[in-house]
């Protein structure tokens, strides 16, 4: 048990620390692919450090909620990162929340971000909040459907059990999973404010979603949010890995397998980041009211995956 706790803490810390690195990696890949000279891979860390040092500038009418939100968001993401099996499986936190609760955590963070954005009352904040909620109310059920497909296969909504079933039982091909995978990809693109739904590097009022919400933040608050964003990307990536290519995650209590699992995980993340950058580069951002269509498609794909599971696999 104690080892379990330690392992848990280790994995959580690892996730929290590695998250900006993944972000940096993605940016670097994008720069290469777009033929720009890339910033160093550690750039996110520098940004965070700089932000933490600055004095926070807050609007006069900011309420306590505004200052509380960044911590809350960060905490939610940390918890999520702790729950998803990254290198080791079935850690003590995992019974705290199954996949449905995981969606709940993301929703909690999102709601706080949106509320904080509305707190100042500048036109952009509200606009961003509205758009964010618009995106999410489609993305959330779609994500649930993806999880449902997996949990129908695994007969459980517990991530460890799902991973167990998919990775460590005898190998079986699940066509439904492929649908779910595509849907999941689209969802995570949307949820992490990437192209084609949102553009992380824009500040154009008409198009921005996520950036519009955090427009009022500065210094440590901004830093926490940026960090949380990185953490979110990381969590989604590991989540995707856990669901769709779980091989290599160490089974419960198997300490010996951990180093290998770590290496495998890093490799997978590098690949995933590169793929993300590649897809972002070749696709263009869609108009805002196309976003619902985009996510609607994701939703339908997920549902379709579930139906296929019932058609072919039961």
């Amino acid at each position: 048990m104690s080892t379990g706790i330690l392992l848990q803490l280790a994995q959580s810390l690892l996730a929290i620390l590695l998250a900006p690195l993944l972000m940096g990696w993605v940016n670097q890949c994008r720069a290469w692919l777009q033929g720009r000279s890339a910033p160093p891979i550690t750039q996110p860390y520098r940004t965070l450090r700089k932000l933490f040092h600055k004095d926070a500038v807050i609007a006069h009418n900011a309420s306590p909620l505004f200052r509380f939100a960044p911590y809350m968001i960060f905490a939610c993401m940390a918890l999520a990162a702790g729950i998803v099996p990254t290198i080791a499986n079935d850690l003590p936190f995992s019974p705290a929340a199954d996949v449905i609760a995981l969606v709940g955590i993301f929703a909690l963070a999102r709601v706080f971000l949106a509320l904080a954005a509305m707190d100042i009352g500048s036109p952009f904040g509200t606009l961003g909040a509205r758009r964010e909620m618009l995106v999410s109310f489609l993305a959330e059920p779609a994500l649930l459907m993806v999880f449902f497909t997996a949990s129908f296969i695994a007969q459980s909504t517990e991530l460890p059990v799902i991973v167990q079933t998919l990775a460590h039982r005898e190998f079986a091909i699940y066509p439904s999973i492929s649908f779910a995978a595509v849907a999941f990809w689209m969802i995570s693109v949307a949820e992490n404010a990437r192209i084609p739904v949102d553009n992380p590097s824009t500040h154009l009022e008409l198009t921005m979603i996520h950036e519009a919400m955090i427009l009022e933040y500065s210094a440590r608050h901004l830093a926490l949010i940026e960090w949380a964003v990185a953490l979110k990307l990381f969590t989604y990536s590991t989540l995707g890995i856990a669901l769709f290519l779980p091989w290599g995650i160490a089974p419960q209590g198997d300490i010996a397998a951990l180093p290998l699992a770590l290496l495998v995980m890093i490799a997978k993340l590098l690949l995933g980041g590169a793929a993300l950058a590649f897809l972002e580069t070749i696709s263009a951002k869609v108009r805002l009211f196309r976003a619902p269509e985009f996510l609607g498609t994701a939703f339908l794909l997920a549902v379709l995956g579930m139906l296929i599971h019932f058609l072919l696999e039961v």
Binding site: F52, Y71, A97, G104, L144, F299, F310
Partner: protein, 672 residues
């Protein structure tokens, strides 16, 4: 199923009836106190609140004690009032008492600004309302049930029309009472089917009566209609968004939080207890209706611009979820999956309890806002968090809870319900088990939209800058109001943090209806309904971790770096003349939803022309069903009465001809 309990000569039921009498006495004594406003608000309502607490206590006792019954000396000659308190009634009494305690405490503060004369009447109806609801839960024969049911409707009607000077409110009250009455007649017919004949209307005989599937189905459909009309099931929902906002806020809270649940109670009571056969398609029907209601309600909630209307629509959504759970329970139950039925029923009851608390909380929250500002249109509110922090933070708890966010109570019931949906592959029915998981998608969609709605609700009212200079004078709620809200908010949090205990506590009810209990295969802090392997959720760990991380991060940032803060104007994006009216209005916030779901709505918009000196924008998204369903009914009846009117022609010869024709016809008819 209930025969297994011995009927004790006396028990909690007498206590419950005692509280009812106490409330009645209180109500009528209020009429005598017309003179003194102080006594009314500072004495009568707190006493009423005590009564509510008592009811909750009696309910809690009734959950564990065996069922007890009593026969009152009043009623019809052959049919005195039978009262009975079993676990099901007891649960709903806990719900009623718990929620209405907070609401009534709140009311004692809320009504302090009201004139004594109207307040006395209001107090009378208010306590009649409470008494009626409790009697509905206690009634053990059709007559007592119907009397209590209608007393409940009537008193709430008078509460709704408290401010009867306003034509809209009068119309709201009228529509409400009309639909309630039609529903009640449907219930009468249902009891007519269920009765044993020879005018024996006690529930005991109904339990024993053997019925053909056909008549059972007729009864079920009537009951679904009758109780659905009360609960606001689409398409009988039209009265709800009119009536609930019209009432004074504590009353709205009671109606939305508690009264709707009596309909759920009736549905459970009749379907599982009184009708002795259940048929599969009943569940499917209820499930479909419930899902439609849920989606419909939340969509309309998203496009409202009146805060109380928004909440009313969201009540419709929650009722939809509950009815869907009811349908799923029926499906499992008729399929012989007792354990799954138990799980779904647990989710249902849990959600009903939760809704009572958070909807009550939100409604009283709007009440305080209304007191402070006198505005219901969200377009004129904003930034209230700075002027009324108590109200704001407590309302935030309710908003997060109703949005189904962990670790609050709304999430638990939703989680349980989704688990139930995930278990449908266990069904023996070929395509149901394939289609129903898709239904889960709708529940998820509704939940996500609910989050949207709540961000809109809270953000527009409490955050941002005041859209109206007058708001700067907004004052914080009085102490009783805060206490009431505190109680309800505490309910939301505790119900969210200790689900394992609540589920264990619910088991008598579940056993009563499904002969099964839900085993919690987890420790006291984790909730694992079916098996820990299958699903688990530990809100306490969850809560602990989140708070822990928040604190750690905070301390870390403070220690390693600093906590310096500079205040300045918000960034104006290079556009100096910004004012509060440039924030997103309520309509604006709902606009994307309106665009996506425009099919359900009849949108009315007035956009100003560019040269307008003082341009005004008005947009309203009306319920299409009203125009599709209700206006035709109105037209048809109007036409029919036109035709009937032609008979009354005014000419005596014609009248003579009627008599003559009738005579001849009858002569021919009888002598043949």
């Amino acid at each position: 199923m209930t025969e297994s309990f011995p009927l004790l000569p006396d028990g909690p039921v007498q206590w419950a009836w005692g509280v009812v009498l106490f409330w009645l006495a209180l109500g009528f004594s209020a009429l005598l106190l017309q003179g003194s406003q102080r006594l009314l608000s500072r004495l009568v309502f707190p006493l009423g609140a005590l009564g509510a607490l008592g009811i909750a206590g009696v309910g809690a006792a009734g959950m564990v004690l065996p069922a007890s019954a009593v026969i009152l000396p009043i009623g019809l000659p052959d049919l005195p009032f039978h009262l009975r308190l079993d676990a099901l009634s007891a649960f709903f009494m806990v719900l009623l008492g718990g929620a209405s305690f907070g609401i009534t405490v709140y009311a004692s503060g809320y009504f302090r600004s009201m004139a004594a004369g109207p307040l006395a009447l209001l107090a009378l109806w208010y306590h009649l309302f409470l008494a009626g609801m409790v009697t509905v839960l206690l009634a053990d024969d059709a007559y007592a049930f119907m009397v209590a049911w209608e007393v409940m409707a009537l008193s709430s009607y008078f509460l709704v029309t408290t401010d009867h000077k306003v034509p809209e409110i009068r119309f709201a009250g009228f529509l409400y009472l009309l639909i309630a009455h039609v529903g009640a007649v449907a219930l009468l017919l249902a009891f007519g089917v269920l009765q044993g004949g020879h005018g024996d209307y006690t529930f005991d005989t109904m339990r024993l009566a053997e019925m053909t599937p056909f008549w059972a189905s007729v009864a079920y459909l009537l009951v679904l209609f009758g109780f659905g009309a009360k609960a606001g099931l689409v398409p009988m929902h039209v009265w709800l968004p009119e009536a609930h906002p019209a009432a004074p806020s504590p009353v709205s809270a009671l109606m939305s939080g508690v009264m709707l649940k009596t309909a759920i109670y009736g549905l459970l009571r009749v379907t599982f207890d009184l009708i002795n056969i259940q048929i599969g398609w009943w569940g499917t029907l209820a499930l479909a209706l419930g899902l439609i209601t849920a989606l419909y309600g939340v969509i309309f909630a998203a496009v409202q611009s009146d805060m109380k209307r928004l909440l009313a629509w969201s009540s419709i959504e929650n009722i939809g979820v509950i009815i869907a759970a009811f349908g799923l329970t029926l499906i499992f139950y008729t399929d012989g999956k007792g354990a799954l039925a138990a799980l779904t029923l647990t989710a249902l009851l849990y959600h009903a309890l939760n809704h009572a608390f958070f909807k009550g909380l939100l409604f009283v929250g709007t009440g305080s806002v209304l007191h402070a500002t006198g505005v219901r249109q969200m377009g004129h509110l904003g930034g209230l968090m700075r002027f009324m922090p108590w109200t704001a933070w407590l309302t935030l708890v309710g908003a997060l809870a109703i949005a189904g966010l962990p670790p609050l109570n709304g999430f638990v019931s939703e989680w349980l319900l989704l688990q139930a949906f995930l278990l449908t592959p266990g069904l023996s029915h070929p395509y149901l088990n394939m289609v129903i998981p898709v239904a889960a998608a709708i529940v998820a969609l509704a939940a996500a939209l609910a989050a949207y709605v709540m961000v809109k609700f809270f953000g527009v009212i409490f955050l941002g800058q005041p859209r109206d200079p007058a708001l700067h004078e907004a004052h914080e709620a009085s102490w009783p109001e805060r206490l009431g809200m505190l109680w309800l908010a505490a309910g939301c949090v505790l119900l969210g943090l200790f689900p394992a205990h609540v589920i264990g506590w619910l088991s008598p009810v579940v056993r009563l209806l499904t002969n099964q209990t839900l085993v919690n295969d987890g420790s006291w802090l984790t909730l694992a309904p079916v098996s820990a392997e299958r699903a688990s959720y530990a809100p306490l760990i969850f809560f602990a971790v989140v708070t822990g991380v928040v604190l750690l991060t905070y301390l870390w940032v403070r220690r390693v770096y600093h906590g310096r803060v500079r205040r300045s104007d918000p960034w104006d994006c290079g556009y100096p003349e910004q004012d509060a009216r440039m924030q997103d209005s309520a309509e604006g916030f709902g606009q994307p939803i309106r665009q996506i779901f425009e099919v359900f709505m009849k949108v009315e918009r007035e956009t100003p022309d560019p040269f307008d000196r003082n341009p005004r924008y008005r947009g309203a998204s009306l319920d299409k069903l009203w125009f599709i369903l209700y206006e035709p009914i109105e037209r048809v009846t109007g036409w029919l009465s036109q035709q009937a009117g032609r008979l009354q022609h005014g000419r005596i010869q014609w009248y003579l001809i009627y008599s003559f024709a009738t005579l001849i016809f009858l002569l021919v008819f009888t002598t043949r």
